[in-house]
Amino acid sequence: MRCAVIQFAGSSGDGDCCHVFKNILGQSADYVFHKETFKPADFDIVVLPGGASHGDYLRPGALAAHTKVMESVKEAANSGKLILGIGNGFQILLEAGLLPGTMLINKDIKFYADEVLVKVENNATPFTNLYKKDEVIRLILSCKYGSYFADAKTIEQLKSQNKIVLTYCGFGKNGDEEDPVASMENIAAIANQEGNILGLMPHPERCAEEILGNTDGLRMFQSILQYFEGGKTL
């Protein structure tokens, strides 16, 4: 599996994603700087990492969505390559129109960094095939603009097409904190119609090693690997 990790100006999750693909999964991973381009054939999966790209100026993801590398990302998306946007990467996918909807500021207008409990609503995706349906997993959320918003029609479509992949079902270590985010339908992750693009707010790459106290996120990366090794069916 060949993985591209995009480096936008301001990205900070790029190293973390690369670390998981390379050092944990033993796959190839290359950085692509936002001023560069690539061909769809160059990679199997493209990761848009977290971190305040371009300073989050204008809106989170808004400027990154218009960088040169995004032309290549769109091309790769259209040719069916897997695209994974994490945190700010999710926001970039929304701003680039690769996923529907937008992100609003958290309900309590504060940055929120803690563990969250999320439910796997759809395990029939290339990103979640190793989870059980309705399984509750622990991930780390770290964002200020994490409140997913879309019009009623979009929400209806996401629901009817089963494209809501993860939903929040608890906040804080024990899952008993008040919801600080207020995401519509408790959305934590959605996929596009074709199913090859996933955007999620929590950070699976930070939950992929025993020493960090949580390996629930690792299975997302293993799912991707499984998808490629098991013969690619969407």
Binding site: G10, G55, A113, K144
Partner: protein, 737 residues
Amino acid sequence: MTAREEAKNLGLTDLEFDEIVKTLKREPNYLELSLYSVMWSEHCSYKNSKAVLKRFPTEGPQVLQGPGENAGIVDIGDNLAIAMKTESHNHPSAVDPYQGAATGAGGMLRDIFTMGARPIALLNSLRFGKLDDDRAEYLFREAVAGIGDYGNAIGVPTVGGEVYFDDSYEENPLVNAMCLGIVPHDKIVLGKAAGVGNSVMIVGAATGRDGMHGASFASGELTEGNEDQGSPMQVGDPFKEKQLMEACMELLQKEWVVGVQDMGAAGVVSSTSETAARAGNGIEIDVALVPQRDKDMKPYEIMISESQERMLVIVEKGHEDDVKKIFEKWDLDAVKFGTVTDDGMLRILENGKVVGEVPAASLAGGVPIVKRESRRPEYLDKLQTDFSKIPVPSDLNDILLKLLDLPNIASKAIVYRQFDQTVGTNTVVTPGSDAAVLRIKGTKRGIAVTIDGNGYYCYLDPYEGGKQIVAEAARNLVVSGAKPVALTDGLNFGNPEKPEVYYQFEKCVDGLSDAARKLGVPVISGNVSFYNEGKHTAIYPSPVVGMLGVLEDVEKHCTMDFKQDGDVVVLLGENTDELGGSIYLQELLDIVAGPAPKVDIEKEKKVQDCCLKAIQLGLVNSAHDIVQGGLAIALAECCIAGNIGFEGEIESNLRPDTLLFGEGQSRIIMSLKQDNLSTLNKLASELGVKVSVIGFVKGDSLKLTINQKDKTVGNIEVPVKKMAEVSKNAIKGRMKK
């Protein structure tokens, strides 16, 4: 106006003016006076503190770089080193808490990555007035948001910190930031302008009029009038800083880089004069070449501007375009504006014409050192109280819950939840435990880091208070499984021209020094912030200590939470008859009285050695030190963190409130498997440390019975859920937003 009068207006003393004239052998012009005024301010020159700071132990085989550079550097094994430093941003935070706190974090980061070290962790130490004061609540809320927004945007995790609320900080809050970076031994870069003829470049953001005279501003008291002056404020841009950091990390891999320095306080003048002085060289610069974002800036404005996100870079002649290429990638300016010379002068040109010329070494280190008068404050004699007149409380549950409801004891999750703690995927133990633990990728190792201070103890007894801070910081590392290796200090005091304040400063430094020396933890960097006074109050003497520890095997780290039903719970060390200085007296009974708890460093060392050894041998499941709120609060914290109960009995001759809430030092609570108890007892007796079994991890309540000669004299029984609820809501319930 005469030059002498101008000097006075700029904050220079007559003595200092005479020294300048003597050095230059002529009267300085306005530009030169401005340079001296910022470089000889307390903030840049440490003129009030230098003599006393010499008392710190600064050496050890592990020290690769001691005080005097951008940051200190200490070896952690495997050919890796940690650069670390603490810095204050107290005055800017009193005026604009959001920007003040944010730029504090920003300056800290630059000090680290200028040395070639990649920043891997931030910590902060905060002091505000009590939250029932509207302004204190506002300062607290905004400072936390500022630190968060800056650190989060730049992608460096905030892994720890501490916050205290006390009336003494109402007018003058304290915002100290600490940063750690990692660097291989052979990649360390120093701030030296070596090599005559080499190119001096300014990189990063353009220079504007923000932060004019910031360093001088930080060296005066906050009074009406200067509280409103907007000009000393810097405005931070974390995005630009992130770009600058990435560009510098790329740049510093190149062998043709000679020296790098952050442009922090006093911007161009401090970075040029300090790098030149360290190398024994001079620098000639042309200010007209500096990229500017304000119109018609005068040479002196360009020289002393504190615009953020800029660096001074010295490279071998001929590599200017290579530097430009790297910075272009990150959309940043890089301009050659000077040359290293051999005459020791900082020569300033404007469009080729000399407008100022002074010896670099005189700016950087020539300030006349002041030996301030020191006098023991009278209040110290009025801090006694007759403890026998204080009634022993009958409802101990009530006291315990009231203590948990104090913002100074309660959970700080509402604060650290606003900080990204895990980006970088190194954070093994997140905030909320005694120390943060980080793994070092590519090795088996880990580091632990903590920042601690107790201004109240230092107020009651500056010397013992200083000792206690070092002891507590080391203890916090030890209970996490790490061996302490080095510390960085942040010394926050009032006006040093007041003999009583200077006394506090001297005694605190003595206490810190003695404890650091005896525990074998050298001071490798630090910061002094004086003049922390408002119209009505001076702050408590408030030194803080950031300390680093190393774990040979990061898998063997330890946390405070009780883990396993049935584990035996022991107390390492001895309960003492010390109620003075406790938060129980201070905040619940309104009795400000000492003596502050005393630390016997020899005993402390033994307790710490025993704890560390026990953790390294894998004997214990949890360890937590006893600090504010005493034994009862420590047990409550172990229960809350583990979401599990405790049941125990203690036989003691002490008053129940002294036993439960007294803050006697050198005590650690550990939980372990019954099977490991005999090994622990053996280890402890070899080291001469007392171990007492006080109960078991059990159930879902904290239950403790106190017996005196087989008679029950006190009882605690509170559900863990209840304690967690109170602790969680204490700060939140006092916030307006």
